[in-house]
Structure formats: C-alpha cells, structure tokens
C-alpha cells in the first residue's frame, strides 16, 4: 500500500488523533490488512506512538496484521446458528482447508474467520464467502460450497 493512498485516507479524517480507529478501518477496508509501513505512516502523521496503534490494531477484531487469502470465509457462530449446528460447519471447513479460524492457507486461497452473528438467523447455519451468504448449510453442503471456489 503506497503512502499516497494512506495520506488520502488520513486527510479524509482531517488528521485528528481521535479518528485513529476510523483511519485504520478505512485502510483495512481498502487493503484487507494493515501492513507495518501503513501503521508507521499513520503514527507519524497523527503524532501517535506506534505502541498505541498496535494496541488498537490487536484489540479490535476488524483488523488483521497479516495478509488475507483470495477468499475470506466467515462462519457465523452466533447463538441462533450455534443451536442449529454451526460447530459442525466450522469443523467441516477446518478439515477441508486445513486451517483454523484466524489463519490463511499457504496457497493464499482461503482465510477462515468465525463471526458472532451475521444477522441472517433465519438462514442458519450460515457461512459468508467474500460477502456472499450461503445459508441452511449441512456439513456436506459446506464441502460443496467450498469446493466451488478456485
């Protein structure tokens, strides 16, 4: 991520230190993860120590300090999905991809994450891949969906 793009994001928030989280969210949104240089640039522009930025980047769930795979798989572990068997969906996805939540496979194909409620409880259990929702899943259905991604 080049520093021009980072600067543009910072300028959008008028460079106030209180907007730190909003700036990081925008960088995460555009770049899908927060590279070290980006954090340093933000710290320099906002006059905020890097330790505070790290504190925030590791505290909130929206941020990732490592690059993400081509497909972001979010498995809903909300209560409604949980009672409808979300654990089995997660187990199936873990077995197929060989990765655990928070990880990315070596080919950079999938990144797996669990989320606490996507709010489509009528469709539970739900898995979201790159923003597309797949609902009413069974373990077998989960395999079919995941195998359809390149």
């Amino acid at each position: 991520m080049d520093s021009d793009r980072i600067d543009r994001i910072i300028d959008r928030h008028q460079g106030e230190p209180s907007s730190l989280i909003q700036i990081l969210l925008d960088i995460q949104g555009e770049n899908h993860w927060l590279p070290r240089e980006a954090l340093e640039r933000v710290g320099e522009r906002l006059q905020v120590p890097i330790s505070r930025i790290q504190h925030i980047a590791t505290f909130y769930k929206a941020f990732s300090l490592v690059p993400k795979g081509r497909h972001e798989v979010h498995i809903c572990m909300g209560t409604a999905c949980h009672v409808r068997g979300a654990r089995r969906i997660l187990d199936t996805a873990q077995d197929l991809t060989g990765i655990k939540p928070g990880e990315t496979d070596l080919e950079m194909k999938f990144s797996l994450e669990t989320v606490n409620c996507l709010g489509c409880c009528a469709l539970g259990p739900v898995m979201e891949i790159d923003g597309k929702t797949h609902g009413k899943l069974s373990p077998a259905g989960t395999l079919d969906v995941l195998k359809s991604y390149e």
Binding site: P17, L25, I56, Y60, A62, T79, D95, S138, P139
Partner: protein, 643 residues
Amino acid sequence: MGRLKSPGEVTKFRQEILSKRDSNTPCISVCVGTGCLASGASEVLAAFKTEIAKQGLNAEVDTKGTGCPGFCERGPVVVIYPEEICYLQVTPGDVPEIITRTIKEKKVVDRLLYVDPNSGEKVTHESEIPFYKHQKRNVIGNNIKIDSQSIDDYLAVGGYSALVKALTQMTDEQVLAEVKKSNLRGRGGGGFPAGRKWEGSRKAPEKIKYVLVNADEGDPGAFMDRALLEGNPHSVLEGLVIGAYAVGSHQGYVYVRQEYPLAVKNINLAIQQAEEYGFLGENILGTGFDFTVKVHKGAGAFVCGESTALMTALEGRVGEPRPKYIRSNIRGLWNRPTVLNNVETWANVPLIIDKGADWFTRLGTEGSKGTKIFSLVGKITNTGLVEVPMGITLKDIIYKIGGGIPGGKKFKAVQTGGPSGGCIPGELLDLPVDFDELTKAGSMMGSGGMIVMDEDTCMVDVARYFIHFLTDESCGKCLPCREGLRQMDRILTHITEGKGKEGDIAILEELSETAVEASLCALGKTAPNPFLSTIRYFRDEYEAHIKEKRCPALSCKALISYYIDPDKCQACMICLKKCPVEAIDGGKKKIHIINQEKCTRCGTCIEVCPTRFGAVKKISGEPVPSPIPEEERMIDRKVKKNE
C-alpha cells in the same frame, strides 16, 4: 431542495410530496434488509424494475426497496400496495407472473401467499398473517412502507413532525418532562429510565454536552437495532435531535458496528439528507437550535456496547470500560456530560412527543411501558423480528407469533438478554415479558435477543458457548472477568467433553460469585448468568455429563456416538456416499456399519438416512453395540429370515 426554514415550510413541503403521490398507484415494496438480501432480494427488486420497463408500466407502478418488516423466515418479502398483498419467498422467476396477474389483472398469485399451517388457509394481507396479527408494530411498522434511503418517504408518513412539535410548540423542559412521564426505559439492556438519564446531563454544569446513539449491537442472534437503522434511519435521527434539544447538546455521534455495512451507509445518507433539508445543522427550522451528528464505526469489540467502553472507543482508544463512580451522563465522552441511548430507545422518542406520554403508557406493565422489539431466532418456526407490547407472555411470543418449534420437537428453554442473559425453562413460559420479571427469573431483557432451544439443545453446551464468547470478548482490564471466565470456560469445556469431575459445579459457582461481585463493568458482572441460570433450571443435565458421561440432549460431540441399527438398515448406500470421512463400511445389499474410530460425529449420516428407514441412531452414555457378524450382513439373507 434547500433547507426548510420554518415549521410552515415543512408542512407545505410535506403536502407537496403527498400531492404528487396517488395512493391508488400500485407500489411494490421489496424488503432489502440484510436478511432478505441474503435470500436474494436485490435480484428480485431488479427483476421487478426490468419487468415493469419491459411491459411499459413505468408510469403506472412504483417500486421500493424497503427496510426489514421482520418476517425473515419467509424472505424475500414483497408487499404490494394499496391492497397490501403480501407475497413470501419470492424469486426473480415469479416476477413476470406477479406483474401480469396482480398489477395488470388485479388478481392474487395464490402460490406465493402465506399458508396458515393449522387451517391450511391462504392469507392475502400482511396484517392478517398470524406472525403479524399478534404484534403491535409502533416502532418498526413503518419499515416496509418507506424506501429506507428516502427522506421524502419518511416525511410522507409524518416523519419529523415530532421534531417540529418539540422545537416550536414545546420548551426543552416540556420535552424532558414528557419523556420522563412516559417512563421510557433503555432498550439496550440496562432498562434505565431515559428521562432521568437526560435530566442528569441537562443539569450538569459543563456547557458542552453530547448525545450518542449506541448501535454497537453485538449480541449474537439480535438484529432489531440493525433493522431500524437500515430500514428507518430518520426515525432514530429525529429522536436524537429531540433528545439533544431537551438535554441542551449540540453534537451527537452514532456509534455503529462496521459489521453492519448497510446500516452505516443508510445512516450516513440519512444524516446528509437531514442536513440538506435543515433538520440538522445550524439554526434548525429557524428556531436557533444547532445540532450536528457524526458517524463512528465500531471496529469489532463486544465490550464497546458497554457505555464507558463505547465512549473510550469514540475517543479513538482501545475500548476498555472505566469504573462508574461518576455516571457518564455527568462525565462521559471527553469527560463531558453524555447521554447514551440505544437505537430502539431513540426511535421511540418521536412517537412519545408526537402522540404524548399518555398514549405511550397505555401499553405495557406497571414498570415497563410501551412496546419492545425482539429478535426471535433459533429452533422456531417463524424466525424474525417481532414488536410486542410489554407484558405479553413468553408463550404468546413463541407459539402465537413464532409458530412454535419446528419438526415436532419439544420446547426446552428460551434464552433472553444476549450472552449475559439467562435461559428460561418451559414451566415459566407464562412469565410476562417485562424488565423486572425477567430479572427475577434469573435472565434479563437485554437488547431483545430471544433464542429458542428445543430438546436437541444441550444446556451445558449453551452455558459453555456463552461463557466462551464472553471470555473471548473480555477486554482483559480486570482480573475476575479475564481470569475467572477463562477458568469457567475451561471447566465447562471439560464437562462437555466428558472430562468433568465431582466438585466442578461448586468451583463454577464460586468463580461466578467472584465475577459478579468484583468485575469492573457490566460485561463481567453479568457474564456468569448463562451458567447460573442453566444450573438453576437444568442441574440434572450437568450431573448427567459429569457423573454418567452422558449428554441427555445427544448434542455434545465427545459424548455421543452414531450407530446404524442393522435391523433397519436397507443398505441403500446414501449415508455411505455422503459421509465426508469415509467412515461407513458396507455395500449394495450389505448392511452398513460405522467405523467409530474414523467417525468425526458430524451427523451427516443421520440427516441423509431416509426417514422411512430411520436407521441411524445417536447414543450417549452407553457403549456402541458391537457390529453384527460379517456373514449376517447380506440383506438377502435378512429378507428370507423375516419371511
């Protein structure tokens, strides 16, 4: 459109909008809330637009993408006005027929109507569907009537008239008095009277004050605030401006989770429109009152729903709570008086001002007035958002509105109040829904999540699930929450894995007591609730796990086994082919046997086994019967034997 500078201009403009609209023009409303979008609502809306253009009906038919009307179970939901015909589970393929039959020929497409499961009768109108009939939709009712991105639509249904009334016909003190009189209690969880909170801030000596919308709806299984913010953002804004006027604040913030992208988009759009029209900004409606609002996206931390943590996050720091020796309505955001109310609370304010506190208090119980929106989810026939008067019984919500438990299963418990709430068993289903009654039963109102559980749900696992969730979300600032919950999570996990020991329950009780007493914020103080309420009502399930290594609900993976009954197996090969780990041995006409070593207990076999065979069984607390001898596995032999 320039800024409206006086109440007269608002009235005139509203009339202009209404005069341009013919109430007899058919309007097709498609819910484009998150739930219906996930079921394909945007394709349906696009198909309507294409079909209308194709049939040359552009001038005669309107289409609208609206907010969530709540009936997510049957999405995408389509309502056609003025007749109010409600079609459910509409696909793009149904669209040409709807246009031809309903719009042109004024006939109803029968197969898309709701069918009453008891009488088998078809229901044409939205308000007659049992799911809606027993509700009282004061707050969420407008969602399906307005385009969620149009301020004109909001004005057309009478929007911003409460703001006009508050700013021009009432003093700030009168507004406050009215809200106090209504006894509106916070819809976000605590149930603190909004009027008293406002009054505290108003009286605080500091000049600069803030009003905030808490839209950091983190409870899994709860999505009513999202539905309001996505579907009718102006109603929340209108409430906020009225509150700001009563409190004497000129700056507001909406703290909304970034996980709700559509809500973020719609509230930003609403703010922009309200500024353009003069409902926000300087000198609102020529009254001299100034007020601006900014949106702050939450970066994903459950604890930020807690008032003081939310304020720290808003200041651009890590969202950790602080002790509340001084309440945040006196010293909150940037140490200034700050009123924080939940989305639904703010959305109630315009109704109270418009119709009066007396109207509002007509509904509800002694201590809890008005209506409450619940998200009814889990093992329930009609998943969705329901708005009911306070005081309705849980039974009415679950059976009359929710349609009971699907699949002929037995009801076990309903979990209310989010992760820090509790489970209410079947014998208490006549409990009226009210802030105080739910607390007495060991649960709480919370933000309004209502998760229904049936006989297949293990209550120990539910407690483990919530404690695990809260362990994960604990910010780590204070010890009883950070370490205590971790230990509780560990012990509960052991119990569900069959490694529980005598004395575990006593340790869990002790850890709970410490967390309740000594945690810094509400997250920690209420975190043991899922355990405390399940041990109160379902102690026998805990004991079965610990003493007999048995899961009565047949749900805990480590304690169950799948087994194929050789007398029932028809050797049809379905489970054998579907098993993801090839743990099933057998062949054509050869009775199938599950290799217990290989089996991952995913449950696929039981799901795919044809119900007329019902050969796959789940067992717990007893050994798996040893497989039948190899020579007896051929089905031909069995048929002969049966003859």
